[in-house]
Amino acid sequence: MAHADTHAHDDHHEHKPSGIGRWLFATNHKDIGTMYLVFALGMFFLGGAMALLIRLELFKPGMQYFDPQFYNSLVTTHALVMIFGAVMPAFVGLANWMIPMQIGAPDMALPRMNNYSFWILPFAFTLLLSSFATAGGGPAGGWTLYPPLSLQGGTSFPLTIFAIHLMGASSIMGAINVIVTIMNMRAPGMTLLKLPLFCWTWLITAYLLIAVMPVLAGAVTMLLTDHFFGTSFFNPAGGGDPVMFQHIFWFFGHPEVYILILPAFGIVSEIIPTFSRKPLFGYDAMVYATASIAFLSFIVWAHHMFTVGMPLAGQMFFMLSTMLIAVPTGVKVFNWTTTMWRGSLSFEPPMLFALAFLFLFTIGGFSGLMLAIAPADFQYQDTYFVVAHFHYVLVPGAVFAIMAGVYFWLPKWTGHMYDMALAKWHFWLSSISVNVLFFPQHFLGLAGMPRRIPDYNTQFTDWNMVSSVGGLVFGVSQLLFVWVIVKCVSSGERATDKVWSDAMPLGLEWTLPSPAPYHSFEDAPEVK
């Protein structure tokens, strides 16, 4: 007797695992992407709550609510949570969702490793945040972990080091998955110079991660052995050099800045052409500019430490190499602007966030150029000007690009349109308040207010108050973001397959139905 014994439920087009197992054992790129994005959103609010506590303490001079040790812990963990818990996982989440869809693959190349790389993160952050409950409180030496200060951290010190190791392992696995997926799973006809720019920027980001993550892992391991095993890598008493830690850390740290911003460039490069109804101006130049930025990021690290006392030749080299980064970055800004030139623009929420990114990231870039000038940097070093600079790069830069990406692709993910009016409210409130929050910090820095200080001179009061009010409005307006997403998922109107059909969305993801099927492309599409 012969018979066909395929199960009854085989007729279901989509076979999704259900219950908690769907998430614990997830190997589907969309499920893992969703978990990354939800995790990143949670961490964004946690880090944001820490930022609000910092701004609360700085609302007026004098010690208000916290002791200096706890304040320093807040500053340190705010940075670690936002960088490794919010921005990086959000980009990995977007990569998980979009890369297979954009290259015509059914999933990521290594789905189980994808699962491991996500599930490491909750453990890493539990470890980091649990240090607040230990004797001596959380890590308080700053996210840069400079010795000898970081070595005085008590019980929180090894917990922080192990947490950073886990975050690094997660990042490495994510990066390897992205590289293998993009290189080996492209649809027939999808040559490298036909890759969507989001994939290109992620490919280069993954390469940067592979190049620099061992440096971070090695650096924090040496801190650990200096503290517990009597080595003297950074201890002058044993012949070590604490300044070398700064060199090693920033050799990782500066490429890390580009790890946080290159995928943002990719997202904006997808959105601006769509809502300009024109192809991206200078695609090849954008790819080469991204690669140039990545290369230059390896040779500029010491601009973070001009004041440690390096030779004049060293200062000149790092000053000029840093300024050189403005050239490929300028190419990008020029190309985005030229893409819009004589385009038929419309201003949906993704485009609004992309435009805000363009303006405000450029402000962050310009203040970066000011900081690159070594003699001027002697004045700016360790002031609020630096805080204003990197927050302009990371918040209206990286975070706005993530929000733009979410608003751009959310209908494709969920199959529902979101409330445009609420999303525009979210945009305007965020854009205005982010400037109220961070722009006054330029003035405070130029006037000499030091960073990482819980108390300050009364002359800085007014701008600190303005900044704190801006912080509160920015924080509260992010609740609107959550509401827009929840409302979209639960009760939004049905989205069409093309989603932005009156604009010009290019790319394979728009050929899929909305919501995208569980596995993106059952058959590899042919790319012409």
């Binding site: 012969a2 395929t6 799973m185 592979i210 090695g218």
Partner: protein, 186 residues
């Protein structure tokens, strides 16, 4: 892959009856082995150059981390590249079914009587994806292990229709070859 003592041969298939339908399963791989080596060399060159500079200055703990990372990258590339060698052909004739599997270990063929064969799709369990099998007399051969769930289920339905049920064998018209190109899962 053959299971439970399935017949195997290492030569080209001698189909008992002329195949009337052929389904060929291919994995989609955009990276050649040569390009994979170049990619690995690029990543290894950067990571090891940086690590070597650190070692030269006495900061040797960077090196083992770079090494570990490159081992993982090499493993990931190797696993992903294995798919390019994987081709599975299902030949369905009037009385027989022959499944030929070609991978990096060579070529194997498994034959079943069409009258006795049955197509089974086993549900996924935990980490394990579903398994599509052709079985008969305690022997089984897995088909399309690298396909996605949906693709595997669609293939299961297609094979069920072609293989038929015992006394109700559908007539097969010669219809050439069906290709199924997919990027499979690990």
């Amino acid at each position: 892959m053959p299971h439970n003592g399935a017949t195997e041969s290492h030569s080209h298939v001698d189909v008992a009856t002329r195949p009337l339908r052929r389904i060929e399963l291919l994995a989609n791989c955009s990276l050649s082995a040569r390009d994979a080596r170049r990619l690995f060399a690029l990543c290894a060159g950067s990571a090891l150059t940086v690590a070597a500079c650190c070692v030269a200055n006495g900061y040797w703990p960077v090196l083992p981390f770079a090494g570990l990372e490159l081992v993982l990258l090499g493993f990931a590339l190797a696993v992903s590249l294995k798919r390019r060698h994987y081709v599975q052909t299902v030949d369905i004739g009037e009385t027989g079914i022959t499944i030929t599997t070609r991978d990096s270990h060579g070529e194997r063929a498994t034959r079943f009587s069409r009258h006795w064969a049955k197509v089974t799709l086993r549900d996924p369990r935990g980490w394990q994806p579903s398994r599509l099998l052709i079985e008969s007399h305690g022997r089984a051969c897995e088909i399309g292990a690298f396909l996605t769930e949906e693709r595997r289920r669609a293939l299961g339905r297609r094979l069920s229709a072609l293989v038929g049920r015992g006394s109700d064998l559908p007539a097969l018209e010669p219809a050439g070859r069906e290709d199924s190109r997919d990027c499979g899962e690990q």
